[in-house]
């Protein structure tokens, strides 16, 4: 019996180990089946305004964005404005069917928009129907179907309605998908190349090819998207051959990119994203209420090193407030200066603060970006410029900031669509929630006026000039400074091709193909 005990336990363990060897054909074995992983659940469920993330391609919007955040056709093939920007008409693609076989028509689009209006404000796992929604539909007077076209009639001119609608806010699903409450009745019913076949919350989503898809049928009949929140576990699953690729925002940590890219089994695709790392100053208290010290802080920061070394080349050093993904709206004339000597001089002129400045970072973000490292480098840079500094990591940064208990806050922001106005209006206008609640203390009448002018200016050239003027103002006033423009690297095994990602982390799953 003694001996038996000695044998039974290892045998049991061995049995457990061996039983695990049966099923190794998880990923990549089957030619028309693909397994991917994402850091978060890309399905949010029937209570969510959208049910699934755009990247799963279950539903499609009227308008999408390209890698320069420019509006590009999706379900709408063309659009035109009239009445000085007060009326926008979208022409629908022909021959499109929902996954239940019914035809897409203008009435269905109108029903989807009306549902948004009815259930807003509603939170979402992706883009809540609040501020961005207000930007898209805030001026909407009427939406109506005429023939194969959809017309939005606005109360005030909006210069870039297609950009504001791009992506989530112009999602179209069959009216039959929705219950009377505005929740989903059952599964989503969209027009994309895939349908949601099965979903286990927080674990995985299974997509099946949509037999009614209007375009080229996708190469993979079935795609499983697993949820693997832990970055190390994600890359381990990729290297172990359990998944064929990693997609979505933050698929790879910046530190992991080089090692994964060096592995010949994988192909890393980097494309610029709308995500920018900003440093927000608390301008409502000493020392950064003094513009000279804000300038000193900016000059002390070596953005090239942060982007190149700390973010391991997955980002580009920040300069203009709008990142280059905004295309020609971004002002190329603004350069990031790095001048530690001048920073020191400015500090000694303005007077060295008695107590250390607090660099605040959020513990939620330290898992996505090497913010502890960046904060350390900022701290060292500030101290060399004569500003004593300390780093605070907080779980609830909002509460800390609303209490005014910080001096600079490092955080990353993105836009929900191709809407530049969003950043200015929600973050920095004198009455912007970010500005007021987080105690930025930024008040500039000229800025406010320019923001309002730019949002209604329909002439592209004049609008661009207004946005550049805004960025020059911000470069001088420095309520927030862009530290780096982040890319979003995604990866697949070399056997998978056709990986294209837009600036809003949407990888078109319908375009993935097996490749040699």
């Amino acid at each position: 019996m003694r001996r038996r005990a000695a044998v039974v336990v290892p045998a049991m363990l061995l049995g457990m180990v061996l039983s695990g060897c049966g099923d190794t054909a998880e990923g990549g074995q089957d030619a028309d089946r693909l397994t991917l992983a994402a850091p978060r659940d890309l399905v949010a469920g029937p209570q969510d305004p959208y049910f699934t993330h755009q990247t799963l391609r279950v539903w499609e919007p009227l308008v999408s964005v390209d890698d320069k955040l420019r509006p590009v056709p999706a379900l709408a093939t063309a659009w035109e404005s009239g009445d000085g920007g007060r009326r926008w008409t979208f022409t629908l693609r022909e021959g499109v069917r929902f996954s239940d076989g019914t035809a897409l028509n203008a009435e269905a689009v109108v029903a989807s928009v009306r549902r948004f209006l009815r259930i807003a404000p509603r939170q979402s796992a992706f883009f809540s129907l609040d501020a961005g929604m207000e930007a898209a539909y805030g001026q909407l007077d009427e939406v109506r179907a005429d023939g194969g076209r959809v017309t939005f009639v606005l109360r005030r001119p909006v210069a870039d309605l297609p950009g504001r609608l791009a992506g989530f806010y112009s999602m179209v699903q069959s009216p039959k998908a929705f219950a009377a409450s505005g929740d989903f009745a059952a599964n989503p019913v969209g027009t994309g190349p895939y349908t949601l076949a099965r979903w286990v919350k927080g674990q995985q989503a299974e997509l099946a090819a949509n037999p009614h898809y209007y375009g080229t049928p996708p190469a993979y009949k079935k795609i499983v998207v697993k949820v693997i929140p832990d970055a190390n576990a994600r890359v381990a699953a990729l290297r172990a051959g359990e998944v064929d690729g990693l997609i979505d925002k933050g698929a790879l940590l910046s530190g992991q990119v080089a090692a994964v890219a060096a592995d010949s089994r994988f192909r890393v695709v980097r494309s610029p994203s709308a995500l920018t790392h900003y440093l927000t100053f608390n301008g409502s208290r000493e020392p950064f209420s003094d513009p000279r010290l804000r300038e000193a802080a900016e000059l002390a920061i070596d953005r090239r090193t942060i982007a190149g070394k700390l973010l391991a080349g997955t980002a580009k050093p920040g300069a203009a407030f709008l990142s280059p993904v905004f295309g020609d709206l971004s002002d190329p004339g603004i350069a990031a200066a790095y001048d530690p000597a001048k920073a020191r001089a400015l500090v000694s002129a303005a007077g060295r603060p008695a107590s250390p400045v607090t660099i605040l970072i959020s513990s939620a973000e330290t898992g996505q970006f090497p913010y502890t490292d960046v904060a350390e480098v900022l701290r060292a840079a500030f101290e060399q410029a004569g500003l004593p500094a300390k780093v605070t990591v907080a779980e609830a940064t909002k509460a800390v900031m609303e209490a005014g208990d910080y001096d600079v806050f490092l955080s990353a922001y993105s836009v929900p669509n191709g809407d530049a106005d969003y950043l200015f209006r929600r973050f920095l206008r004198s009455d912007a929630p970010w500005n007021v609640e987080r105690r930025l203390g930024y008040r500039n009448k000229e800025f406010d006026t320019l923001v309002d002018q730019a949002s209604t200016e329909t002439d592209p050239a004049r609008r661009r000039e207004l946005y550049r003027q805004l960025q020059r103002l911000l470069a001088a006033d420095r309520p927030m400074i862009p530290i780096a423009y982040q890319d979003n690297p995604v990866v697949t095994i070399t056997g998978v091709g056709g990986v294209v990602q837009n600036a809003a982390y949407v990888v078109d799953l319908g375009k993935l193909t097996p490749s040699g």
Partner: protein
């Protein structure tokens, strides 16, 4: 011996090392081991050896301080309850049950999330749940000893309670308590570094071994030594502590 070596390493290296464990210099980032940097440098160009040692000092001090607090509380409470019996005893057992029942690490995480990070928060997060093992063992051992014939005999001979405590009970509970205290030290070390690993530990730039490992995770493929150095230090410490206790018990 091993433990002494680790303590000496942690204590002395930062003093002797020409490098500052907290001063970043990205120009020197991720250098491989060399005569100048024996273990190479980390992603911010800080000397890994010096950093491991500095983090070790923090880890050891935190774990030691917390264990000292929990052992004192546990032993006092356990012995007192064991001797007094009755209501205090039941109170202790129930308090222990509640403390054991709460998922310690998660609650510590939640607490650490609510309170500002720092050594005080670590103590607040780990002490309320850390004293239990010691308390229970001290209690059980006291009960056993108190019920044994020789204590009854000593008591019958008219020995004072303090004499009983010192001469009969203390020696008998010292062994189990020490065992548990040591296990607690290892556990606290793990719990405290786990908090840091999950990103809710001490505020930077100060960090412990868990924090070092956490920082190294993205670079696990590119520079595994960043994780291996603190992990080995942690493992050696844990093994050393355990071996010491086992050896003491055998003697």
């Amino acid at each position: 011996m091993l433990l002494a070596a680790i303590v000496a390493f942690c204590g002395l290296t930062p003093l002797l090392s020409p490098h500052d464990p907290y001063l970043p210099d990205p120009a020197l980032a991720l250098l491989p081991p060399s005569p100048r940097h024996w273990l190479g440098t980390d992603q911010l160009g800080r000397d890994l050896l010096t950093r491991t040692a500095a983090a070790g000092t923090i880890s050891l001090l935190t774990a030691f301080a917390i264990t000292a607090i929990t052992t004192t509380i546990g032993t006092l409470a356990g012995t007192a309850a064991g001797l007094a019996g009755g209501l205090p005893e039941r109170l202790l057992r129930q308090a222990a049950t509640v403390a054991l029942a709460l998922p310690g690490l998660t609650l510590a995480l939640a607490l650490a999330g609510v309170l500002p990070p720092g050594p005080g928060t670590m103590v607040a997060a780990l002490v309320p749940f850390g004293w239990v093992n010691c308390g229970l063992i001290a209690h059980t051992a006291t009960r056993r000893v108190a019920a044994s014939d020789f204590v009854l005999a000593t008591r019958a001979l008219g020995a004072s309670p303090s004499y009983l405590l010192r001469r009969t009970i203390a020696p008998h509970i010292a062994g189990p308590v020490l065992t548990v205290a040591t296990a607690d030290f290892a556990r606290t070390l793990i719990a405290a570094t786990s908090l840091s690993f999950l990103g809710i530990g001490l505020p930077p730039p100060v960090t412990d071994w868990g924090g070092l490992v956490n920082d190294a995770v993205p670079l696990l493929i590119a520079a595994p030594r960043l994780a291996i150095a603190p992990a080995i230090a942690l493992a050696l410490t844990g093994v050393a502590v355990t071996l010491i206790v086992d050896a003491r018990r055998l003697r």
